[in-house]
């Protein structure tokens, strides 16, 4: 027992300390701290799992390349082990995911996809993924071992000092922005996933694992840190869910409590600058649109507030902080949205719709007159010269496009979403037949006000999940293709039997058909690639695949024609073939054409659908190759 001054006062509880206090520490506070942290441990940890995780010894033979030393813990996402990679002599963490998913093919596919995405996240503030795989039905991820503690451990000891709490946000924001730029959303930001290493550096763990484990509609994320939209429509969550979760973490780090339905402002609970209140409220806004749009934006305001906080601390040292009135929590004031924006947007949409109607009437007229044969307009149309026809088609194509742009721009203006689209819409409106006045008004409104009504990232890939516009456009062109085909058939039929003088121009029919088919397929192809790269932000994949497949499917027609033509030619030129030769030539031709068509179409399909292309076994490829080779050789021999 250390001898000490009998009148010593505990600096923490203010009580007189007994002079036989252990190590001059207040025994009451010693026990209280231990008890408080124990309570928090029980409070924060997930309910104890019914089954014990396998011991390091039990799984050791499944990981021959690793020396598994200890089980670090078990969370909702799986079991974590500390291990040494024998080949490189480095410490790693092995995370075994969802043991109950053994043999689930969908999970397996998705797991591989996600792990490849995660492996691309090389950032100093993100736990690096080294390897992943499956062994004996256990899905595992090998990750960098972070020698330190997680933020939950630190928070168990109570709240953090405001400067420390604010200090953890910028590096997390940098890492999140990095991931969001790649279209990856964490979806489960919480203190347990924020690791601090021995040098105090912060690292985000478990990127993407929440969405992986939650693939079958299981709850992905941890309720107190889940943004409101995560609980309701899982498909509508985007990077702003991470910003919400980080807001919860910040609030908890500042105050030691999680924000409830209506929470007290941080400045009412701890000594922080009032600007922190606004930041927390904005990050925690229930409406994702009103949160910080990007992690970078969040980081910048935090850095600014940290500077203010540091200044404030210096001021506070000089004079006591003024007592703040107990202001009720007010919702974040809506960003400026003057009524003119809405009116202009509404008018633009109206003009666009009128334009679409006008175009439709024109097209309807066209088709109507095509079908009702003997009509003045129809006659006039058929007698058009080719340049006149091109002009006619171009005119209504252009007005249709202008109308669509006007409507889209009007919607953006009305909702204050993307400035770029609103501007494009206003310009399109100016150019349309009746939209000049409204277009000019919209332009003036837009150019005179540069407020933050507009989402600066409104049309970047990590916006809310939406349907691919390219896929829609591709579908539009294929509808056009059908109309053109119908029109072509009508034209041909109306002049049947075709005589020399009445032959319709090939160009008149073929140009629109080929143009629509090619444009539709190119757009569909682009849409498929874009949807694949959007990492789930865009949908409409099936539409894109179907539209993209139109031209490859059409290409089968000339292929069959070539095959049939060559056969006909062959038999015509050498009619002395016996049955056996005919059979061989016929079979190889038909099966070669079939093989080329099948392999070509399947390859296109797999490419569009984003499936791996190395899907053909060597046997299939060699059989196809032999068939085609046989066809070419026999054809050439017979020809000669």
């Amino acid at each position: 027992m250390t001898e000490s001054n009998p009148n010593q006062i505990c600096p923490d509880c203010g009580a007189t300390m007994p002079d036989d206090s252990p190590q001059d520490l207040c025994p009451k506070c010693l026990l209280r701290q231990a008890l408080e942290s124990r309570t928090l441990v029980d409070d924060g940890s997930p309910s104890a799992p019914s089954t014990q995780p396998p011991s390091p010894h039990e799984i050791a033979d499944k990981f021959p390349g690793f020396e598994i030393t200890e089980c670090l813990g078990r969370g909702g996402m799986g079991v974590v082990y500390k291990a040494r990679q024998k080949s490189l002599g480095r410490w790693v963490t092995i995370k075994i995911l969802a043991p109950e998913r053994v043999g689930d093919a969908r999970f397996s596919e998705r797991f591989a996809e996600e792990a490849q995405i995660l492996a691309r996240l090389a950032h100093p503030n993100i736990v690096t993924v080294f390897d992943y795989g499956e062994t004996d039905g256990l899905y595992y991820i090998v990750m960098e071992f972070v020698d330190g503690v997680n933020l939950r451990d630190l928070l168990r000891d109570g709240k953090l000092d405001p400067t420390q709490a604010l200090g953890i946000v910028p590096p997390i924001c940098e890492a999140l922005q990095f991931a969001h730029d790649k279209g990856i959303v964490h979806r489960d930001i919480k203190p347990e996933n924020l690791l601090l290493d021995r040098d105090g550096r912060i690292k985000i763990a478990d990127f993407g694992i929440a969405s992986l484990v939650g693939v079958n509609g299981d709850p992905a994320g941890t309720p107190p840190y889940m943004a409101p939209e995560q609980g309701t429509r899982s498909q509508a969550t985007d990077h702003r869910a991470d910003i919400y979760a980080l807001g919860v973490v910040l609030y908890e780090a500042l105050t030691g409590e999680r924000p409830g339905e209506s929470f007290q402002l941080p400045s009412q609970k701890v000594h922080v600058d009032v600007s922190i209140d606004d930041i927390v409220i904005r990050a925690l806004n229930r409406d994702p649109e009103r949160r910080y749009h990007t992690a970078d934006e969040f980081r910048k305001v935090i850095e600014k507030a940290t500077a203010a906080q540091t200044r404030g601390d210096v001021d506070a040292d000089a004079s006591p902080a003024p007592v703040k009135p107990n202001a009720p929590l007010v919702p974040n004031p809506a960003p400026l949205d003057p009524i003119v924006f809405r009116i202009a947007g509404f008018l633009m949409i109206a003009i666009g719709i009128i334009q679409v109607l006008a175009v439709s009437v024109n097209v309807g007229n066209f088709i109507y007159f095509l079908s009702g044969a003997e009509n003045g307009f129809f006659a006039e149309f058929l007698s058009m010269t080719e340049p006149a026809f091109i002009w006619f088609s171009a005119k209504w194509l252009i007005s249709a496009s202008l109308a669509v742009i006007t409507i889209v721009g009007g919607t953006h203006l009305l909702k204050g979403k993307s400035r770029k689209w609103a501007l494009a819409g206003a310009i399109a409106c100016c150019l349309s037949t009746w939209g000049l006045v409204i277009g000019v008004v919209a332009l003036v409104v837009l150019l005179s006000n540069t407020s933050e009504v507009f989402d600066p990232i409104g049309n970047t890939p990590h916006n809310q999940r939406r349907i691919s516009r390219l896929a829609i456009a591709a579908t539009g062109f294929h509808v056009l293709l059908l109309l053109c085909l119908a029109a072509g058939i009508f034209v041909v039929q109306s002049r049947y039997p075709i005589t020399a003088g009445k032959a319709p121009s090939v160009f008149l029919i073929a140009f629109p058909v080929l143009f629509s088919a090619a444009t539709g397929s190119i757009l569909g192809w682009r849409a498929a690639i874009q949807i694949r790269k959007s990492e789930g932000k865009l949908y409409g994949k099936r539409l894109a695949v179907v539209t993209g497949m139109v031209v490859p499917s059409l290409l089968v027609i000339p292929l069959v024609a070539i095959g049939a033509g060559s056969l006909k030619e062959l038999f015509a030129s050498s009619p002395q073939f016996d049955d056996a030769t005919a059979l061989i030539v016929g079979t190889t031709t038909v099966s070669s054409i079939g093989a080329i068509a099948f392999l070509g179409l399947r390859t296109c399909f797999r490419y569009l659908a984003g499936k791996p292309l190395q899907c053909y076994s060597k046997r299939i490829l060699s059989v196809a190759g032999i068939l085609v080779g046989l066809w070419i050789v026999s054809g050439t021999l017979l020809w000669v």
Binding site: D12, L35, V149, G200
Partner: protein
């Protein structure tokens, strides 16, 4: 009070098992029990003093009791007092004071059977601060028990840090064990220790974690049911809180 020769096999074994082993005349278990008793003799001594025993009598009582405790076959008939070593020790000691000491202590006094070297001066010093104490000796026993337990934990912790060459870190950071996190001057500690603030935070957290683990292990040793650690901590806290 910490002993480098402590029998490691029993370091975390529950006391009931040790007592059972002692009853079976197991020498290692005897050492373990004497170590356990060594940690908690002081509350017993002061308890005896508060029962108006003289210094000499109190010392004899404690020594005799501990010697008795370490004898095989003499523990079996005793009440296990719901699995708490604290309650068991006090009940046994009371039992000992009432029945046995008159007969046995006279013979043993000055004899070879003195299992512990007791620092009676230090044990006396703690009694000065509660001159007009109206609480029962039983309550004070609990309070002193808690102090002895905490002291043991901190001494162990310090020894562990010293053996890892982190003595300076421990001496600087140990005050963090009582403070709420927000009150810990991380930045000045960082300057004193010459490491980053983040590293201090991590170090403090680890210190607390180790402290908690040591505390829980120490408490668990005095219970037959390790699940009751939380309850025991609460009652020790209550024993400490009653003093104002």
């Amino acid at each position: 009070m910490s002993d480098s020769t402590q029998p490691t096999a029993f370091l975390t074994t529950r006391w009931t098992l040790i007592v059972d082993a002692v009853s079976g005349n197991d020498a290692v278990a005897r050492d373990a029990l004497s170590l356990l008793a060594g940690t908690y003799w002081l509350p017993l001594y002061r308890y005896a003093r508060r029962k108006n025993k003289s210094r000499e009598d109190a010392e004899d009582l404690v020594q005799g009791f501990l010697a008795h405790l370490l004898e095989p076959h003499c523990l079996q008939e005793l009440d296990r007092s719901h699995g708490r070593f604290r309650a068991f020790l006090l009940a046994s000691f009371n039992h000992w004071m009432i029945n046995d000491w008159k007969h046995s202590i006279r013979q043993k006094r000055g004899g070879p059977e003195r299992p512990l070297s007791l620092d009676i001066d230090s044990a006396e010093s703690g009694m000065k601060i509660d001159p007009a104490d109206h609480r029962s000796p039983d309550r004070l026993f609990d309070r002193e028990w808690a102090l002895a337990l905490l002291d043991k934990v901190l001494v162990n912790l310090e020894a562990a840090f010293n053996s890892e060459g982190n003595a300076v870190q421990f001496s600087k950071l140990r005050s963090c064990l009582t403070s709420a996190s927000a009150r810990i001057p991380y930045s000045s500690l960082a300057t004193e220790l010459g490491i980053s603030e983040g590293a201090v935070r991590v170090a403090v957290h680890r210190l607390r974690k180790r402290y908690r683990a040591q505390l829980e292990a120490e408490v668990a040793r005095t219970l037959s049911n390790p699940q009751a650690v939380e309850d025991e901590l609460h009652s020790l806290f209550a024993a400490l809180s009653n003093e104002t």
